[in-house]
Each structure stands twice: as C-alpha cells, then as structure tokens.
C-alpha cells in the first residue's frame, strides 16, 4: 500500500493550487456562492470562473490532447478536483454536464464532425449543455421513456416531454435520449441526439424546487426538427450511449468536497452553540454524533481512493461509485438533520432573517439533502445495482 503521490504529482498539485489562488476572483465569497437563492447570479459567477479555467488550459483536463484536453492522468484529475474543492471554487455545475458527461460520451461515440463541432465550445463554455433523460413517465426506469424521434427526410422530428432537466434554461444544447423504435424491447429502441435548444418547438418551463430555487425545468418538444447528423452513436443504440454517460456521471459524484466543508462548518457550529450553559462541542452526545459523521465521511473518501487505485492500475471499475454515493448521501442527510437539531428554533430561520445562523445555510442544506439521494440514480436503484450486479442476487 502506498498513498503517497510522486514528486511530480505533488508539483502538479502545487501548480494547480497556486493557479487557483491567483485566479479565483478576489471578491469571490464561497459561502455566499453556495447559499444564494439567486440562480442568475450563481450562473454568472460560475461561467466567469469556467472561462478563466479555460483560458488557463484547465478544462477537460482528462480529455485527449487531440480534442483540446491535456490528456491528464486519473491522478492529476483527482488532484485537480481535490484542489478545486479545497478552495471551494465555484462548482463546474453550470458546465458539468458538458465537460464531464457529454464530452467524454462524444469522444467515445461521436463522429469526427461532431467532435469538431461540439467539443471546443464545451471546453470554452461557449455552449452549455443539459441532460434530457428523465420524463414524467420515465425516471428510475429510464428505458421506458416515450419522447419520440421520427425519421423524416434528413431530419428526425421530436415530440414529447422531458422533466427535472437541470439548467435547461441556461443551456444551448440538450443531450437528448428519445425513442426511435417502438417495435423492439424498450432498451433497444432508443437513440441519443444533440439538440439545439433554440430549435422551434422547444418550450422550457422552470420548476421551483422545494428549496424555493429554480435549478431544473420541464422541457416540451413539439415537432422539433433535428438534422440527422446530430444523432450521437448509432440509431437504436442510445441505451449503450447513455450507459457510457451515466458511468461518467457516477464517477463524478459521491466524494464531493462540499460535504467535507460542511463537516468542518458543523464543528464550528458546535463550538459557537451553547447547550445548557456550556459549548455544545463539549456535550458528549454532540461529540459522538459529529465523530460518527466524520468517520463515515473518511470511509467514503478512502473508498474513493481505492477506486482511484483500481483505475490507475487499469483494473475494471468496482462498485465504489454506488457505494460512495450511498455512503455520502446518507451521511449528509443525517448530518444536516443533526445541524437543525443543534440549532433548535434557530434552525428554521432563512437567510432573510438577520438573526439566522450562518445565513440559514444549514436549513438550505437540510432541504437540499434529498437531491443527492434522488438525482443521479436514487438510493434504491443504487442498492438494486449492488444487489443484482455486484452480489449476483437473482432478478427473478
């Protein structure tokens, strides 16, 4: 076992760290960024940051050089993500789908023309992408989706509806999954498309989330014409294309550094909160709870490192992605609920109340916690994946 990075890798870390320090805008306030309900503002900050990363040559780090990436190793990518998280830089959320999901999918499945057309503008954040998978009738059972793409001359004509589409209202393109064949088993009749969001017939309707913010949308398609050359991968093989994408999505979740930051904040909160006249950080029950969260978080981080090791030595990926997602989302759920408990009546105050603690961030995170157990494949679906594929329990 060897958990040390090589001297070159440490140099790389230093390079990244210095670059971030020098380039993160001086007036950037991470607490504000992560808690503001003003989505426009957030997107603006994130886009500006993406642009800087691009100019510094840091986007698509792990993409092959020929497509504008740096061909970085998985370790470098890991170090880079860690440093971004450490600095609490604006999340790549606005361009995450493009850089982390669509890009690798196009590199894997796209035609040369598609790669030339889309990849550079994903890297530069000139074109933002959203992911049009879920529908009102197809969530966990994604293959049951019914949005149709019918061939008509040199176009496909799209009709149907997508939902929960994050950032669709800021996007230039949608990576769409639609049905091209109704006469075969449901997984066999899907195709993937790159759809211009300005196409006539598309209506985007923002949905208000339970937090009160609007991050996701409903997207309606009425006779939307998509040129044939915008199909990604072969016709009716959209399921395989989507699986490639979801693998990248899962790899990018779970070990998010924001959880670690929240844990540090929780320790500070315990120190400044009093219970029965003494600091809550001295209360044995509080100490036990917080220690447990810290232990579980470390277990997730270390499990992520085990996955990284497998990747480095070229072994097939294990089930660490699902394990980390289940472990971290469950920890976060209890941790944020515990913070509410620690705050007592103050826990209910929103950031608009001058007496709220930490600008109401704990309330927001407690409300947000369910996003992580639903989005990106629900916890139940993750458990079913582990049970049937990792443990080999029979489906029928």
């Amino acid at each position: 076992m060897d958990l040390e990075f090589t001297a070159e890798e440490e140099d790389f870390r230093q390079e990244v760290r210095t670059w971030i320090e020098e380039n993160l805008p001086k007036d950037y306030d991470p607490d504000e960024y992560f808690s503001t309900p003003d989505v426009d503002k957030k997107v603006e900050i994130a886009l500006a940051w993406q642009k800087r990363l691009y100019e510094g040559g840091w986007t698509g780090l792990n993409w092959p050089k020929e497509y504008g990436g740096r061909g970085a190793t998985v370790i470098e990518q890991h170090i880079f993500n860690e440093e971004l998280g450490r600095a609490r830089a604006p999340m790549a959320a606005i361009n995450f789908i493009g850089v982390a999901m669509v890009g690798p999918t196009l590199i894997h499945w796209g035609t040369e023309e598609q790669k030339k057309r889309y990849l550079p503008k994903i890297l530069s954040s000139e074109e933002i992408w959203c992911q049009g998978f879920s529908e009102p009738g197809a969530g966990s059972d994604l293959a049951a989706l019914s949005t149709q793409a019918v061939e008509e001359g040199d176009h496909y004509v799209i009709n149907g509806q997508k939902t929960w589409t994050s950032m669709a209202h800021y996007s230039h393109f949608m990576y769409l999954l639609a049905r091209t064949n109704k006469d075969v088993k449901k997984h066999k009749g899907l195709s993937a498309f790159a759809v211009d969001m300005k196409s006539p017939g598309i209506t985007v309707r923002p949905l208000v989330q339970l937090t009160g913010d609007s991050d996701f949308n409903e997207v309606f398609f009425e006779d939307v014409r998509v040129p044939k050359e915008q199909m990604i991968g072969p016709r009716d093989q959209g399921w395989d294309v989507a699986i490639t994408t979801l693998m990248y999505e899962r790899a990018g979740m779970g070990a998010g550094m924001e959880f670690e930051h929240a844990l540090n904040q929780l320790v500070s909160l315990a120190k400044k909160t009093t219970r029965g006249g003494i600091s809550a950080s001295r209360d044995p029950w509080v100490r036990q709870q917080i220690a447990q969260f810290i232990i579980e978080w470390n277990a997730v981080k270390l499990t992520d490192l085990r996955a990284l090791s497998k990747q480095i030595s070229g072994e097939p990926p294990g089930w660490e992605g699902s394990i980390c997602k289940l472990g971290s989302s469950y920890m976060n759920l209890r941790m944020t609920a515990f913070a509410m408990e620690l705050l007592g009546p103050y826990g209910q105050l929103t950031r608009d109340c001058p007496l709220s603690v930490d600008q109401g961030a704990w309330l927001k995170q407690a409300l947000m916690a369910r996003a992580f157990t639903i989005g990106g494949g629900t916890s139940e679906i993750q458990r079913s994946i582990l049970a049937t594929r990792a443990l080999g329990l029979p489906r029928k």
Binding site: M1, I290, A299, W319, Q382, A387, K396
Partner: protein, 380 residues
Amino acid sequence: MHFDFTEEQRLFRDASRKFLDAECPVTFVRRMMEEEKPFDAAFWKKLTELGWTGMLIPETYGGVEGTLTDMIVVAEEIGRAVMPGPFYATAVTGAEILSLAGNAGQKDHYLSRVAEGDHLMTLAVLESEAGLQSSRISAFAERGRGGFTLNGEKRFVPDAHTSDTIIVAARTCHGTIRDRGISLFLVDRAAEGMRIEQMPSVDMSRRICRVVMDNVIVDEDRLLGEIDGGWPIIDRAMELTHVPMCCELVGLAEKALEMVVEYLKVRVQFDRPIGTFQALQHRCADLMVGMELGKSLAYYACYASEKDLPDAPVALAMAQAYCSEMARHTMSEGIQLFGGIGFTWEHDLHLYQRRAISLSLNMGSTEEHRERVAEAFMGG
C-alpha cells in the same frame, strides 16, 4: 498511489485462504470450542512454517520481517475462517513489545522462540475497570533485592492459559506525570503465586483469562524496557494489534455476507428464490456498503500505523468504531436473513457473530473510539 494489496500480497492471500480452507475447516473450529484449551500444537506448528508467527519478527531472530500490511492480509483470512486459538497475543502484541522494548538478550531469547513456534506470549494490562488507560492500572511491582514482587489482578487477558510468558503491566511508582510509572515484566505462566482462570465468554474458540498475582517474584532481568516507561510501549503495541483485529472484523463480515448471498440464491419460498425479494436485496446491498467502507478505514489504519503517521491513532479509532458496529450489525442482519436455520447452534453464522462480539469488545467501546475522533477534530 496504490491503495490496495500488492500482487505479491494477493498471491499470499490466496495461499493463506487455501491453507485455512484445508487446515481450518469449521469442524476444526467447533472441535476447538469444545476443548479445555483451544490450542492445537500441530496447527500452531503449521502457522509457524507459513511464517505467520514470525511475521513481524526481524530476520536476525528467525522471523519473516514482514510488514503490518502482510499481517492484515492474514488477519482478513483469519476472520473469514474464524480461526480459533491464540494468535495476535503472541504474533503481534508479544512480538512487537519485545522488538520495541527488549534488550539484546531478551530479544534473542524470546523472539527466536516465537519465530520457531516454541513460545507463546500474551500481554496482561486490563484490570477491574477495563479501560486501556495507564490510570486504570493498580497492579503493583515492588522493587526488592535483585528483583520485583508483583501483586494484583489482571482481567481479559487473551490466551493466558496457553501462554508460556505473560507480559505484565504493573505500576512501579505512584502518582507522578501522565502515563509514567508503568513498567513491563516478563513473567512465567507457572511462576509461584500466579493463578490463571478462564473467564467463560461468548467466543469459546478464543479464550480470555483472569490472572491473579500473589507475591510473584520476578528477577531484575525480567524487567522489559525502561522502568516506569512501559506505557508508550503498550500503547504502540496495542495500536499494532488492533489494526489486524479491525481487518479480522472485515474478513468476518465479508464471509458472512457471502454466506447470506449464497443462501438467498437457493432458498425458495413463495415459489421463488428469496434473493429475488427486493426487501432482502437492499439489506444485502447495505451490508456490502458497510463492509467496503469498513475495509477502507481498516486498510488506512494499517497504512498509517505501518508508516507511523501522526494521524495513526485517529485512523485506528475510526476503524475500531466503524468496523466494530459494522461487523456486529452484519451478523445480526445475517441471522435474520437466514431465518430459523440461522438461529440454530448447528449453523455457522453464530460463530462469526461470537467472534465479532468478542473482537470488538476486546478493543474497548465504540463510544470511546468515537470520543478519540471527536478529540482530534474538535478538541477536548
């Protein structure tokens, strides 16, 4: 960066598993449980030939001079096979204490015998208030002419009844500065005034004992390490012992989960294998998550301890707290998933449950491990 066993260690793991499959089937475990003393000299000899007893002993004394990681490779397999009888007390605790504190003569005498498989040892620390703190020790060693006179009572001493030498932690000085005043003595089990009784307990395949010392006289040359300076040695030796114990907990859980999954595939109720019921599938998935998370913590505790990193004690506390609860929970859930058969003496799962209970409690309470984590992250 390689957070996993090396290729060589994997081969070693496969060989160890094969060995235990052949030499330590569950029938052997059950036979040992029935014995007055669960110690099989022939089996111990085989462990010695494999280099397990001399794993942490320097080559100069006939050992293998392996690493702690090599040791946890074995510990995981020991868990999977619920291997009975003494092991860590001699091969880890005893070997480490002598390596750390022994003088040349002591090392030569004891370590080479342990590596040869001719000598068993254990460490006697805990007393009536069974906490692993120097302040809980009241057994006393009075200095006299040419030696010491020991009085006091030790509890929860692993394998004392089969050990040739019992390393006793006794107070040699009252009051004074934190963690000073404890000394270590190499005491023959059969020395006059030593009384050893087994403490009947949950895991009959591994025994713990009560050791009563009534005016036991030991020679000056049996003092191990510096007078009054024994506690840091104990601390480090226990850290190194608890790491493989955490890994054994992981091995127990891994094997128990495999047993459950196999059963769920073949047991039919309502005309279908019960493994098709999602309520059960999801419980198995949760057990897998716990086992893998625990494994990560245990491996890191090993790494930190082997490298003697500053965070080694906290890393261990995390592994102890998590793996203890995880393993006990896995056994409890496993029994539920087996149904009635799981509740029988005949079924093997309770052997794993018993081991999980005794291993985890012998390391202390999870509450105390979590408190150490809290102290590291939030101060006292």
